[in-house]
Amino acid sequence: MEEKRNIWKDYQKEIADDHYYYVRSCIRQSFFPASEEFFLKVLKDELGKDIFDDPNHTTCTGIGYHADVVPFETIMTVVARHFALMKESGYKNIIISCVTSFGIYTEIIETWKHFPEVLEKIRENLYKATKREFDIPLNMTHSSDIIYKFRNEIAEKANYKLINQLTGRPLNVVEHIGCHYSKMFPKYGVGGAEFPLVLAGMIKAWGGDVIDYPERRHCCGFGFRQYLVQANRGYSAANSKKKFESMEPYKPDLVLCNCPGCTMFMDKWQYTISELEGKTYGENNQGVPVLTYEELAGLVLGYNPWDLGLQFHQIQSEPLLRKMGIDFSPEDKYKTRSGIQMPMPECPANINF
C-alpha cells in the first residue's frame, strides 16, 4: 500500500526523536498490558530512548466522553492536567497509547486554536481544581507513530520476518488504523486518513504484504455506547462481521491494529460471531489472529510470544507463529512468571485451537 499514497507522499508527520512523556490507555493496559510494558522496554532497551512513565496520570475519560456521560469541558480539563504533569516532569513530547485519547487530544488542541476563549476557560478550570498550569505539547504522537518512526531500526534487529517460511511468500496482513487516529484530523496521522502509512509502513519494513480490501476503512464497530450497553452490541458485532467478510477472499494471515479497542473487538467478535452464527473466519476454522503493533514488533524482535500475552487473546496465534518460523514453547504458554503451571482456558465450541 506504500505505493498507493499519492497526496501524502510529500507530507511527513513530525515525530520527536527522544524524551517522551507516556500516557497509558484504558483498554490497552487492561486488555493488552504486555503491549504497554513491551513498548516502554523497546524504547528504553532496544532504542535507548528516554521515556517517562508517570504514575500520576489517569484516564483521559475518552470512553465516557464519546459515550456522552463526560462533558467536553471536563475531558478538556483532564487532558490539560496531563499536559501539566508533563510540564512538571520536564517533558515537551507526549506519546499517547490509546487511539481514542489521541483523537481527543488532537480535537482539543484544534478546538483551542479555533476558540482561544475555551483554552482560557480550561486554564482557569485546571487551576481552580488542582493549582496546576500547563503547556501544550511541542510534539504529540500516538505510540504507533514511534514504532513507525523506528520501524527500520526494528527491522535491522529483527529475528523473524513477516514471511511465510513454508512458501517463502510475504504474509497477507490486514491493517486496521482505528477511526480516531486520523479520520478527524488527517494531518496528525502518518499518511493521512485514506491510505494511512503508520501500520502499512511497519508491515512493509518487516517483510509483509498489506491487504487493501473494500471495507478497509470501516469502523470495527466499538461505537462507545453501542458496545458498552449489552442491548446495543449487535451493532458492534455487525460492523466487525462486515469487515471480516470483506477481507475473507484475501486470506489474511493476521490483522494488525492501531487502536487497543479495535484489537480487542476484532479478536473477541470472531468468537461471538462463531457462537451466534456458526461462522468462523480464517484457515481451518482457527480464526484470524488480531495483534497490536507492539505484539507484532515483539514477535519480529524475537520476544517470547507468551510474555507478549498472545495466549490471552481469544483467537490463538500458533498458526501465525509457525508460519513466521518462530521457535516457541507450547509448555510455557500457561505458566506464571515463576514457572508454575496454570489451568487451561476453556476452548470455544466453534473455533479450532
Binding site: 449489552q230 449487535g234 458485532a237 455487525a238 452464527e277
Partner: protein
C-alpha cells in the same frame, strides 16, 4: 449457542449487486415512460393515498429501480389508483399504470412466471 443478550444486526445498506431486478425489467418492458422519471416528487405531493397514509410513490419508484422486492410489495398495495400523479408529472410518467404493472409483476413472481 451462548446467549449474549443480543443478536447481530442486519445491514440496511442497499446492496445493488444482489437485489432482485425482476419487477424493474417487467416494468421497463411494459411501461417505458418509467425511464423518464426524475424523482422530483410531484407525484407524492399530490398523492391522495399519501395524504392519509405513509405511502410514498416516489420512494416506491426508487425501490423498483434498486430491486427491493419486499419494499415494493408493501408499498404498491397502498395506492388507490386515482391517477392524479399522472396528471401532474412533468415528464409524462404514467404512474398509475406503473402501479398496475408492478402489481402484475408481483403476482407473476409469486406464481413463478417471472
Amino acid at each position: 449457542m451462548t446467549d449474549f443478550g443480543f443478536t447481530i444486526n442486519k445491514p440496511r445498506v442497499i446492496d445493488y449487486d444482489n437485489t432482485d431486478k425482476r419487477v424493474l425489467k417487467y416494468l421497463l418492458a411494459h411501461e417505458p415512460s418509467f425511464n423518464s422519471c426524475i424523482f422530483c416528487g410531484s407525484c407524492t405531493a399530490t398523492c391522495s393515498a399519501g395524504n392519509f397514509t405513509d405511502f410514498n410513490i416516489r420512494k416506491l419508484k426508487i425501490f423498483i429501480r434498486r430491486g427491493l422486492t419486499e419494499e415494493i410489495a408493501s408499498e404498491a398495495e397502498k395506492c388507490m389508483l386515482c391517477g392524479k400523479c399522472f396528471l401532474v408529472c412533468p415528464r409524462g410518467v404514467n404512474n398509475r399504470n406503473i402501479i398496475l404493472k408492478v402489481r402484475e409483476a408481483l403476482t407473476k413472481i409469486e406464481s413463478h412466471e417471472l
